[in-house]
């Protein structure tokens, strides 16, 4: 399964926390209000049935007329029906309560903080800083944040640069740098400025930030049903109608056969046949899906976006950070002919000692890990650093030697180094040229090192593919998702890395419009495309993609364009989002199947119970050998009621998605939930009947 990405201050709540259960039970009763329950047609009809049973019970209690069965029997049925509705309400309420708890902890990050708003004074450009509460910030306001301040609202840096501690949101303790302009200009409310000073413009109205939207979604307040959910509700309403017809028609049928049926029996048959199990759990499943997304630190703008993620056919992934670890690393030193390995490594290490780029650091690191640590006696005291420029396309160091001479070490791309070497009248060894080309063909980058214009050797830099990433792509392939790597590398290198990582396709030397065109092309073929991005130039593609996940660190434009925001800025998050979406649909599908398959056993429990008194021969249909008609009906409704709370954990956790291929998955789920749905109630009803039989 996907790794859990919970932040230290937001641990995943257990399925049933004590304080949540209290709230949920209270909510279950509030939800009995027919005006609320009518949105769930299946459970609404159960409530209507319960009301009828209340009337029947009261009538029996007042008149003492027992033609409709004993008072105790009718009372029990009424009670169980009421409990059935309450169980269903509880399922929804507990899902909402968990969502709320989750949202509450998110909300803590948005406590009221003082905001230093900058207001222009008069006609002069004299700014005055005024401290107000964060709640009073409006879109377009500019505020100031200095080291130690909590950022009061989401916004975009308009001036300055700062290191920011985002651990309150992401759980990641390492500070990040955010600066005006570029793709790292966005800041999130609740995070803390560690150093420097920035001016930030508020980008959202109070109460309308992504987080506010997500909180409302998880709490269920504004949760709109997705098309799939509406279609399923219609189908379930259809089943309910069919069984209303079946049960209403049964009354004249039974009269004709001179078999009086009690109202309790008729309503019990009806409640057992309609799909109460899925009807009761449906909204809980939906809320729990959103909740799972939030637990993965993904803010979805709608439930539909999460579901669509489960359908994605094509996944566009950036190479850097997703498929490979951030930057290239040195993996090998190849000395030129006549140069010793130690010499070569020494030169390379020396050239990079003062080099702060990740590549440079990795060269030093590799040198240090060699058989003999050649870096120990190296010193760069008094040395001059030669920075990389676009003209020289090389960098290096000039180390003064005791004799007034200096040691000039350079490293860089082969053609620029060759130019330097040949200008000095030295030979560029063909072995080095061959080696360099070989490295390039294997997806690496060759860096040639020279000392005083003489070639020392070549360093191989390689992209490091993230461990475990090709297994993830395998998993995606089994889900039926095609992965596409997007990279600025040349096609040769791109092809090599794509092959090594196991992606299905790649876009090399990618420009923003290439992404866009690729997405369009896939979509014309009827595919759903997901992508992740952070930059402003990603925004059009994010908007075009069916599922666009923007990184929280990205620009406001990117966040507006996508339909999800990833708080962790983790490029592999898409894979988790796809699984959450699938899980959501699977949970609905399997529980629907289970619910409908249950009907077979319920028929065999109730139908003989309805008629055996008048037509004893129909006892032959009582294949479960249930104790008596009353116990059979009671057992069936009890089973029908308690299956709902028994399945709540499954509804909240979601049915696990196994990437074993569509056919195998269907076989597996049909076996577990279809066949299981037929068998389970036979066993369950029989067991309950054994217990009920003791009392009747």
């Amino acid at each position: 399964m996907a790794k859990q990405l919970s932040s230290p201050n937001r641990t995943r709540p257990g399925l049933f926390q004590k304080e949540l259960i209290g709230t949920a039970i209270r909510e279950s009763f509030i939800k009995l209000n027919p005006a609320i329950l009518v949105k769930n047609p299946v459970m609404f009809t159960v409530e209507v049935g319960t009301l009828i049973m209340v009337l029947v019970t009261v009538y029996i209690g007042v008149t003492g007329d027992t033609t409709q069965g004993s008072l105790a029997y009718n009372l029990s049925i009424t009670f169980i029906l009421l409990v059935t509705v309450l169980f269903a309400n509880f399922a929804e309420a507990i899902a909402e309560a968990r969502g709320k708890a989750q949202a509450e902890s998110l909300r803590k990050t948005r406590q009221e903080t003082p905001a230093k708003v900058i207001r222009p004074v008069g006609e002069y450009k004299l700014d005055e800083v005024q401290t107000i509460s964060s709640a009073q910030l409006k879109k377009g306001d500019i505020f100031l944040c200095e080291a130690g301040d909590i950022i009061p609202s989401d916004g975009e840096i308009v001036e300055g640069l700062a290191t920011i501690d985002e651990s309150a949101i992401t759980g990641e303790s390492a500070p990040v740098i955010r600066e005006a302009g570029g793709d790292k200009s966005s800041v999130t409310g609740g995070t803390k400025v560690l150093s420097d000073r920035i001016k930030v413009m508020v980008t959202t109205q109070p109460g309308e930030s992504f987080l506010d939207k997500m909180i409302a979604l998880v709490e269920g307040a504004t949760r709109q049903k997705t098309p799939n959910e509406i279609a399923l509700t219609i189908l379930l309403a259809g089943f309910t109608l069919i069984f209303i017809i079946v049960c209403v028609a049964l009354k004249p049928f039974a009269d004709y056969a001179n078999t009086p049926i009690t109202i309790a029996a008729l309503i019990s048959l009806f409640v057992c046949l309609i799909p109460t199990t899925i009807g009761g759990l449906l909204s809980a499943i939906g809320i729990a899906g959103m909740d799972r997304a939030l637990q993965a630190n993904v803010i979805a703008k709608s439930g539909r976006a999460v579901e669509t993620a489960g359908d994605v056919d094509t996944l566009l992934l950036d190479k850097t950070g997703t498929i490979t670890i951030g930057n290239r690393k040195a993996t090998n030193f190849y000395p030129a002919p006549g140069v010793s390995q130690t010499d070569m490594v020494r030169a390379s290490a020396l050239s990079s000692l003062a080099d702060e780029t990740p590549e440079g650091k990795s060269i030093v690191e590799l040198a240090r890990n060699g058989e003999t640590d050649v870096t120990r006696n190296l010193s760069t005291t008094g040395a001059t650093l030669i920075k990389f420029t676009a003209e020289t396309r090389s960098s290096g160091i000039d180390v003064p030697l005791p004799g007034g001479e200096s040691l000039r070490i350079r490293k860089g791309a082969m053609d620029s180094i060759r130019a330097i070497v040949q200008r000095a009248g030295n030979v560029f060894p063909s072995e080095i040229e061959t080696k360099a080309n070989e490295i390039a063909a294997n997806g690496g980058t060759p860096l040639v090192v020279i000392e005083n214009e003489a070639v020392k050797g070549v360093i191989e830099l390689q992209d490091i593919i993230k461990p475990g990433i090709s297994e993830r792509f395998d998993r995606l392939r089994k889900m039926g998702v095609k992965t596409v790597m997007v990279t600025g590398d040349n096609p040769l290198t791109a092809k090599f890395i794509a092959g090594k990582a196991g992606v299905d396709d790649f876009i090399a030397e990618a420009k923003p419009e290439d992404k866009m065109n690729y997405i369009r092309r896939e979509q014309t073929g009827g595919k759903l495309v997901a992508m992740m991005g952070d930059g402003t130039n990603d925004a059009p593609a994010l908007a075009q993609a069916d599922v666009g996940v923007a990184m929280n660190s990205g620009t406001q434009a990117a966040k507006e364009a996508g339909n999800m925001v990833d708080l962790d800025n983790d490029p592999t998050k898409l894979i988790e989002v796809v699984e959450i979406g699938k899980q959501l649909l699977i949970t609905r599908g399997t529980l629907t199947t289970f619910s409908i398959a249950n009907d077979v056993a319920k028929y065999f429990a109730i139908v003989p119970a309805l008629f055996t008194l008048s037509i004893p021969a129909l006892q032959a249909l009582n294949i479960m050998g249930l104790h008596s008609p009353e116990s059979a009906i009671l057992s069936a409704v009890i089973f029908n009621a308690i299956i709902i709370p028994l399945l709540i954990p499954l509804a909240l956790r979601g049915v696990e998605y196994k990437p074993i291929g569509a056919s195998a998955l269907l076989r597996r789920n049909l076996f577990i939930y279809g066949l299981g749905g037929i068998v389970a109630p036979f066993v369950g009803i029989k067991l309950i009947d054994l217990a009920v039989g003791l009392f009747i």
Binding site: P227, I230, A231, Y256, A617, L621, L666
Partner: protein
């Protein structure tokens, strides 16, 4: 008996083999590819010109449905008028036949318009040669062509492309007549003529029997009606006793021809789906489900009938030949039971034996077969029902593997589920609702004289009448005094609804699907051609289509059976 069983099996295999050829031919016809019958093109052109039809103008599903309903209402008006006045139509009139009263005329017209052919009249005494030919046989052709046309339009909409139009109704309709039903009927009629089926306008003949009494022998233009009656899943016979009558079905050869005619086009339609959509695996899947379920219903009927009636054997009557009550001796128990099994799943619903006399469990399987109406089912209509079950199975199955549902590359969404669910609700509402009303009236007036057998069997009789009407089957359980305004009008209503709702509904779904973008298959999509999916479809059919009548069946056939077994 084993030879007989082998013969029947070979007959089925032969029919299925012919159906493969026919399905491939139909695919060519409706794709507009050349066929041997292209000589008829000028004839068709004349028809189009006479009707002012542009056959190349494709219609939206609404226009298609509207054209269908318009022309059907014209036929209905014509049929009503003719049946009401048949006594005064001077030609093709054998004499002595009265015009039908209003309720019977409505019932007869609607039952033939809907391919049901319930026949609350008896052909010999209730219809003139004119109405038999120009009204009833005519309606058998056009109603069958209507269902075939809709079936074709729906299949066309499942193609891997996108369009907002489903085809031209008139073209589909005319081609169904000229390329499918007419040629086959002509062939069938000539063959039946050779077996001795009459085709004459002579009045009935009066003969003196050996016993010295006078007997009227009814005859008429029979051979023209018999093939289309079977080919078009109609089932309305020339004579009251239907296919048991020697003039409709003289011998075992004609039995074979007629049976092949019943099976041919419903099976051919499945083959047509495979060829037309280039989805042979799907066709195989449907064929397997349909054949499997048909056998699951027919074999118990045969077994029950061969076992005989325990109530009769208790009287000391030998049942070693099976339950012979109500069977035609020429076809025997096995031949009749097999015929019955075919004709309840395919709503031709023609009879060679009295269904009333079957054993209770046999009637249970008959009811299930009619109710589902998709184990082959009627020409075109059987596929339409199966299409609805497929939509629901796809929906549930796709969710189960975590995909938004899609059928053959088209997303199944709210409108499709809405229509499918609506039809699934309306069908039981029609037959259970009507049965509830009828049994309530019967219960309130025990002397109303409807039922020859009260009790559980009487309940089965009433349920059978309505299920048969809704399903467009039209076979009668008999034992019901059905030519009364109540029965004529209530069955007319359920026949009409049970016909046109399941024709228009799938058309609406098809129209919606055809407009959607096609997605080529990918690894994550629910495989519609796998065994697992076949099991899912079968389960959906059984649980939704069949199980909802379990309480009713318990009070009818099951109660009768268990009481008998005691």
């Amino acid at each position: 008996m084993y030879y007989q069983l082998l013969g029947l099996t070979l007959l089925f295999v032969f029919a299925a083999g012919l159906a493969v050829l026919m399905g491939r031919y139909m695919s060519r016809v409706f794709r507009g590819q050349p066929t041997a019958l292209d000589v008829l093109t000028p004839v068709e052109r004349c028809i189009y010109r006479a009707g002012g039809i542009d056959p190349y103008q494709s219609m939206t599903w609404q226009q298609y449905a509207l054209s269908l309903l318009t022309i059907n209402s014209i036929w209905l008006a014509y049929a009503l008028l003719a049946l009401r006045t048949q006594a005064s139509i001077p030609f093709w009139n054998q004499g002595g036949i009265p015009s039908m009263d209003w309720s019977l005329a409505i019932n007869t017209a609607i039952s033939f318009l809907t391919s049901t052919n319930l026949q609350h009249y008896s052909g010999e005494s209730g219809a003139t040669y004119f109405t038999q030919m120009a009204v009833l046989t005519f309606l058998q052709f056009v109603s069958a062509a209507t269902s075939l046309a809709v079936g074709v339009a729906v299949v066309r909409s499942l193609q891997a492309k996108t369009s907002s139009n489903v085809g031209n109704f008139y073209q589909d309709f005319v081609l169904s007549i000229t390329r499918v039903f007419l040629p086959l009927s002509v062939l069938g009629a000539v063959w039946l003529l050779l077996r001795g089926v009459p085709m004459t306008f002579q009045p009935y003949t009066l003969i003196h029997t050996l016993e010295g009494v006078e007997q009227t022998v009814a005859t008429g233009p029979v051979a023209a009606m018999i093939p289309i009656k079977h080919l078009g899943s109609n089932g309305g016979g020339f004579f009251g006793t239907n296919t048991a009558h020697p003039f409709e079905n003289p011998d075992m050869v004609s039995y074979g021809i007629n049976l092949i005619n019943v099976l041919l086009l419903p099976i051919a339609f499945v083959v047509f789906v495979g060829y037309f959509l280039h989805r042979k695996k799907l066709a195989w899947l449907l064929f397997t489900i349909m054949t499997g379920c048909w056998l699951a219903l027919t074999l118990p009927i045969i077994q029950q009938e061969l076992t005989g009636n325990t109530a009769v054997s208790l009287l000391g009557v030998d049942q070693s030949m099976g339950n012979l009550e109500g069977k035609e001796m020429r076809f025997g128990t096995l031949g009749s039971a097999f015929w019955c099994g075919v004709n309840v799943v395919i709503p031709a619903g023609t009879l060679t034996s009295m269904h009333d006399s079957y054993t209770p469990l046999a009637s249970l399987f008959m009811l299930l077969g009619m109710q589902v109406d998709a184990f082959y089912g009627g020409v075109g209509t059987g596929f339409l029902y199966m299409f609805l079950y497929l939509i629901i199975a796809i929906f549930i199955g796709s969710l189960m593997i975590g995909r938004t549902p899609e059928l053959l590359g088209k997303k199944v969404g709210i409108p499709e589920i809405q229509v499918a669910a609506l039809i699934m609700v309306i069908m039981p509402l029609l037959y259970l609702g009507a049965t509830a009303i009828a049994v309530a009236i019967q219960q309130a007036n025990p002397d109303i004289g409807w039922l020859s057998n009260p009790g559980f069997h009487g309940f089965t009789t009433i349920l059978y009448e309505y299920v048969s009407s809704v399903a467009g089957n039209g076979s009668g359980f008999e034992g019901l005094a059905d030519n009364t305004p109540f029965w004529n009008l209530t069955t007319s209503f359920v026949m009409f609804m049970g016909r046109f709702i399941p024709l228009i509904g799938p058309l609406a779904i098809a129209g919606s699907l055809y407009r959607k973008q096609y997605t080529p298959p990918s690894a994550g999509v629910l495989p519609t051609e796998s065994v697992t999916f076949g099991i899912l479809v079968t389960a959906v059919v059984l649980i939704i289509g069949a199980l909802c009548t379990f309480p009713a069946l318990a009070l009818g056939p099951i109660a009768e059976y268990v009481s008998q077994a005691k």
